[in-house]
Symmetry: C2
Subunit: 508 residues, 2 copies
């Protein structure tokens, strides 16, 4: 293959020269949108959206009774989220300045500030210079109010790329200080990972926010009282997923009725931001990415649903202000190397099997696997809970009620048992840096048994993952409203920023 | 998850109702294009295109010397094929009437005739009624000349959906009879799988074509003589890949200088078809799909290159007739569940490793693995050829020249050895229907050792596959020229036909 490469490259350059590029934005004949929503599904590419669509389509067929009896009159219909049918759709490539595969910081910086940058960098270009985000430009040049919402902590990579300027996305305390300094008008969703610094001895972030004039609302009562007269606001879900210090919203699949959703925080954001001035709101479906990192499709699908519902709130708003609103929905990169197809299921899928899952990967790990390790619970006993939580059933436990496709095969039992045995060994005693371990279970923070359970359930449904990291797959960009027409075509993700700058009449 | 489903579904229906759908084609203010090219990369989704782009970008960086020394000034640049920068881009969903995952027959029928149909059906709807293809409508209603080109046999699913009407894509002899009956003007590329029927006792297809007035050209001399005065033509590559009776073009990676490429057949097609009348040419990159089925990225990338070059011929033609030409480039479905990311390589890729591969999966299986089985060659001896053909090197064979990343680990050697041992057992004596075998090696026609070798090389490069079948991933549609503006947005693949019908002013 190597011998013909020079020929290929020359040929390629010739073809590239003749290449017709994307329509230039050029002169704009529309007013800038007064209200801009930017939804970022972290880790959400077409594979994730397709899994969601096929799951929802399967469950609807189950609901109306055509799943068991497919006929040409009742073909399988994927139910794609309606944002995929926004009037304009583009595809964005996601490589950063370090690699073909971006991390969430460099990807968010590309979208927020229009620069290709290094892995881990927030609001900085690849040479270490701070670069303004679209939110900062709108604040400074157009007096727009700014809101940032995330289902993970508000100091996490995606939201912080809109207000922070640091080379290391892990400096959570410094990031939080940048958040306060931004003076943005609304923060909603998760809290802070290190509100008192790494050693817990620094001045509290929430206290500093109050001093800076923010209304801090983290009880149901305080949140219910928020409105257009609340001034600058940070609203943090009263109940957070803090099992690992994440300060994030609960996974949608784990929520009870009272627990707050991404759409709640978009709704509050609209209440807080809507007024004389224009506003810009970035909304991240952040736990979508985490579910993909952990190769857990059911949890991911529910996160897409939460994200989709949040988009619905913006669409509802846009219906009231159709000539003043722009809504963009995109992903920052694909996570997990998800495919809607697996060797053992071939051309078939059995997406309804995912409906048996009742708990997220993380809650399963923390609330079940860790106690099992402490108690050195037997595999057989643990599998009774796995049956309740995921539907996966040992043959000896199967009854007439059991879904036949969920009865485990000898191969699957062996995989589960091997993973279970590993999970029963304390971290420190585990050989987790062997190629065998890494190929199967990757980084040590994933419990082998957690990964094995969701992967086997996913495989049975016809889904499979290749990685617990991100991948290089380009992601979709859906746009609706004022200026949406500029988001069609194929471009690098940095163009999202540049298109917004042009549409909004900003100087950069 | 099940408990909240009714709520979700109701919610979904509400959202769907408010959904803004794709722009209607409505009144057209352009003349129909006189020349229409439809390129179908079989199995080509964004994962395949991205792997190609990242490979080419890596090799260019290697070529200009920045690969070994990446800096912010020299970020990784994927070289996406220029057809991805066509002025318009859409995404097409590919589910058929049987499943979320289409086969090549139903997918081709969707594109060719605009109907959702059953797996395996050619030019028939899901109820068994024949439906006209866009090629037939253009022949009958507009007197366009019709050309079909494929790198696989011309009776294969994708080309035959444009002229055949049968429920079973495997009826190759009947399909060939439909080909003759179509009276289309040009067929180019591969030959026929069963030119004398299943038992070899039927009247020869080529003989019948000559009787029907076709110029049959399957020698270099006859092919060189083809031109606008040749009448109706079938041009078959003088050297075919017939190792498995495929009657296909050789894989690009296996070709010598004399061997014909997809672009050769597009060029000939233009010579044959171009005249007073308009023409429609469908060009399939069919072996792209086969390389993906076999989970062989290097071979796939070279097939994309061949396909891309063929698109280049049409682009060159369009530059001469810009106001009369429409070019569409799409895939029919994704194959293999390819991801540009793998657990063991994490966020990194090492795409240059693919350049060590010098042979296609099939040639490797037929010309190496089968003889090794006959001779019961030792693993160690076989691995010397593997080193030459794929770069993968046993530690004891490594020298100072060896690329360190290609030295095999104990885990990889174990995987290779297991696959090799299986491949040394004759088919009939092999237990190939166990879940273990199917999960790893799938259908029996893939040699375990062939799959193991390319997968390990791919994994080292940072690529991974989840299946040897197709997947449900939507595919891109790129369009350039007259009427191209109708191909943006997200739609079902059947819309490609309906858009063409509208643009071309046809009645259906």
């Amino acid at each position: 293959m190597k011998k013909i490469l020079p020929i290929i490259l020359v040929f390629l350059l010739i073809l590239q020269t003749g290449c017709v590029n994307q329509k230039n934005i050029g002169e704009l004949n529309t007013r800038p949108p007064k209200y801009v929503f930017l939804f970022i599904g972290d880790g959400m590419g077409w594979p994730q959206i397709t899994a969601y669509a096929n799951y929802m389509g399967t469950m609807e067929a189950d609901f109306i009774g055509t799943l068991a009896n497919p006929t040409p009159e009742n073909p399988p219909v994927p139910l794609f989220p309606s944002f995929t049918r926004f009037p304009e759709m583009g595809i964005a490539a996601t490589q950063d300045a370090s690699k073909f595969i971006a991390d969430s910081a460099s990807a968010a910086t590309a979208i927020a500030s229009g620069v290709i940058t290094l892995d881990g960098a927030l609001g900085m270009d690849a040479f270490g210079n701070p670069v303004p985000s679209i939110a900062e430009l709108l604040r400074d040049q157009k007096n727009y109010k700014i809101g940032l919402v995330s289902s993970v902590s508000i100091d996490h990579a995606t939201p912080s790329a809109f207000y922070s300027h640091l080379l290391n996305r892990r400096n959570y305390y410094d990031i939080a200080l940048d958040l306060i300094a931004s003076g943005f008008d609304y923060f909603g969703g998760g809290g802070f990972r290190l509100p008192y610094g790494m050693d817990g001895d620094m001045p509290g972030i929430l206290e500093q926010m109050e001093e800076a004039g923010y209304t801090v609302a983290n009880t149901y009562e305080d949140i219910a009282a928020l409105g257009s007269d609340s001034g600058k606001v940070i609203a943090i879900a009263p109940v957070l997923d803090n099992d690992r210090g994440d300060a994030a919203l609960l996974y949608t699949i784990d929520r009870s009725e009272d627990d707050m959703s991404l759409s709640d925080f978009v709704r509050i954001g609209i209440d807080v931001l809507h007024g004389e001035q224009g506003f810009f709101m970035m909304v991240e479906g952040g736990k979508l990415d985490w579910a993909c990192h952990g190769n857990d499709a059911a949890t991911m699908i529910m996160e897409i649903h939460d994200f989709y519902s949040a988009v619905g709130v913006a669409v509802e708003f846009a219906e009231k202000y159709p000539d003043e609103t722009l809504i963009i929905v995109t992903g920052d990169h694909e996570t997990g190397g998800l495919s809607n197809g697996f060797n053992l299921t071939g051309y078939d899928t059995y997406m309804n099997l995912l409906s048996y899952q009742k708990i997220s990967l993380t809650r399963f790990a923390i609330h079940y696997i860790l106690p099992w390790r402490s108690a050195q619970t037997s595999f057989e006993e643990a599998m009774q809970s796995v049956e309740t939580l995921f539907g996966l059933t040992l043959p000896q436990n199967a009854s007439d009620e059991t879904e036949p496709l969920l009865i485990l095969s000898p191969r699957e039992i062996e995989m589960l048992r091997e993973a279970y045995d590993l999970s029963m060994i304390p971290f420190k005693e585990r050989v987790y840096d062997s190629e065998e371990y890494l190929a199967e279970y990757s980084y040590y923070w994933y419990e082998p048994f957690q990964l094995a359970v969701t992967r086997i359930l996913n495989n049975k449904a016809g889904l499979a993952w290749t990685s617990t990291s991100h991948t290089a797959l380009p992601v979709p960009v859906f746009a609706k409203g004022m200026g949406a027409e500029h988001f069609s075509g194929f471009y690098d993700n940095i163009e999202i920023f540049h298109k917004l700058v042009a549409i909004l009449g900003l100087e950069n």
